[in-house]
Amino acid sequence: MAFSFFSPKRHVRTDGVFTKCRNCDGMVRIKDIEENLDVCPSCDFHFPIGSQRRIEITMDEGSWNELFTDIYPTDPLNFNAKKSYADRLKRCQQDTGIADAVITGCGKIGSKNAAVAVTDFRFMMGSMGSVVGEKIALLAEHAVANNLPLVIFSGSGGGARMDEGVISLMQMAKTSAALSKVHKAGLLYVSIITDPTYGGVSASFATLGDVIIAEPRARMGFTGPRVIQQTMKVDLPPGFQEAEFNRDHGQVDRIVHRRDIPSTLVQLFEFFRPRRIYGK
């Protein structure tokens, strides 16, 4: 349940001004991509973005209140096979400026309050260890306590984080149990699939949304394509595990362009408002 084969960057910065889009092969000005929400202006290809940037383009300006910022990863297994987990954690923290692979908080989307989490593929492929599990569980409980809809942006090529062993696996159980509380409280949970979402993340919180939205072409599955190809010795169908394929197979409700995600969330918040549960 860990995959090593996803390149975190889907476009390679070339001379600092122009870059070659990995999808359409066109030379595009980096500035134009950045001003277009990191979407290729010529072919609409959605490049992966970090968690801070996601918050910036999703939440109403100045409304973001990050929560649970004091929770940091440790190295419970003293995992030191080939590379030291402790060292890798330190490097990831320096490179990304975040404590672990998720940021959580609350704020407004189109003037509506919501609890929001974003996993970050730049941090060990967005894999889930104790910190990701704990923060997602805390956020779910926060949503219940404050009667808020919950939105989680998932993007993880790593699934459950290998370096924390079965402790990571159990975070699947922990986050799913916490989401059961959201479910029973009658609150809306929208899961947004970004590229790529696999393994222990897809087999827990990412697929438990009341509504599951995917960015165009975002890949989601349990087992990664390379593993399937190698173990089954088969050719994969075109577009396998991409958003459109998953929608056609009933695994995703709707594909939404990055720029339309906030307005779609507002619509969903309006349609699916919590009903009063008496005696609770």
Binding site: I71, S176, A177, T223
Partner: protein
């Protein structure tokens, strides 16, 4: 008379001394019978020697050797235990959606005189069974069938007994198309709140999400020579060293043995196996498992539903190790603190 050593595939390298002495014992027993002679003293001595040999080998098993034991070709599987513990098992197959998946067997059964719902992963003991059971790797319909039957158990408040033994959920195109991820995720969410006791035992291989998909319970135990891991040692080795041959090193790093997992607060009990492993005496292994199940099911049946659900939530909610910098003096959270 002297039989050649058993088929190479039937024992592990480190078991060789055990196999040798067992064959010597067998030789003496045959000799005694055919010649009508008394070798009981010699045989007793060999039996004692056998136990000493086993104790010496098993005292210092490496994590990888334990993985090898868990995958032993002669190791008892779910149906071996079911035959011995649940002769009244009434298999009910329907997932009500797509197809039957024999990688997970489900149905009511009697545990002594307690009615339970049995959910059991089975790998297959011969080629025919293995093909039928897909070597214990379930498709989404297997997880959905399990949930159907667990809901039936909840309706009549039958305790659920879940026997886990899988290398992992099936990694195929069709499994992906039918939602392997969401099938497992749904089970995790629903099992966390199912209003009936759930008892889980990892019999041999606890292969990642495929095991966890029927593995949420009020009490989770492992057989002494089982392992439970987030990724197979081979898979881990392939990622870290690009070499599946480093699986023994990976097995050690992953901390996947019952002792490790008890230490992390993930596993509640370890069920002892007969000397040399469950395959040396499946009857004794089954008796130990049965005794364990009865005592845990009885204890959980005395718990009120509210307590049961609160404790189950808390059990999973507290698993995790991290530093909380806001709480001074307690940098490490752990199941114990």
């Amino acid at each position: 008379m002297a039989k050649a050593l058993q088929d190479r595939s039937d024992y592990l390298d480190f078991e060789r001394p055990v196999v040798e002495i067992e064959q010597k014992i067998e030789e003496f027993e045959t000799l005694a019978k055919t010649n009508n002679m008394d070798f009981s003293e010699e045989i007793n001595r060999l039996h004692k020697r056998r136990l000493t040999i086993i104790r010496d080998i098993f005292r210092d098993l490496t994590p990888w050797q334990r993985v090898e034991l868990a995958r032993h070709p002669k190791r008892p599987q779910s149906l071996d235990y079911i035959e011995r513990i649940f002769p009244d098992f009434l298999e009910l197959a329907g997932d009500r959606a797509f197809a039957d998946d024999a990688a997970i067997l489900t149905g009511p059964a009697l545990l002594g005189d307690i009615k339970v719902m049995l959910i059991a992963q089975h790998k297959g003991r011969d080629m025919k069974e293995s093909i039928r059971c897909n070597w214990g790797s379930a498709h989404p319909e297997g997880y959905r069938k399990a949930l159907e039957k667990m809901r039936l158990a909840e309706k009549f408040r039958l305790p659920i007994v879940s026997l886990i033994d899988t290398k992992g959920a099936y990694p195929g195109i069709d499994a992906e198309e039918r939602g392997q991820a969401v099938a497992i995720a749904t089970n995790l969410r629903e099992m966390s709140a199912l209003r009936t006791p759930i008892v889980c035992v990892v019999l041999s291989e606890g292969g990642s999400g495929g095991a966890l998909g029927i593995g949420i319970g009020d009490h989770v135990a492992m057989m002494e020579n089982a392992y439970y891991s987030v990724i197979s040692p081979e898979g881990c080795a392939a990622i870290l060293w690009k070499d599946a041959g480093k699986a023994p090193e990976a097995a050690a790093a992953l901390k996947l043995t019952p002792a490790d997992l008890t230490g992390f607060g993930i596993v509640d009990a370890v069920i002892p196996e007969p000397p040399g492993g469950a395959h040396r005496d499946p009857d004794e292994a089954a008796a130990n498992l049965k005794q364990h199940l009865i005592s845990v099911v009885l204890e959980l049946s005395r718990t009120t539903e509210t307590d049961l659900l609160a404790r189950r939530y808390e059990k999973y909610r507290r698993i995790g190790f991290y530093a909380d910098l806001s709480s001074q003096g307690a940098p490490d959270s752990s199941p114990e603190s």
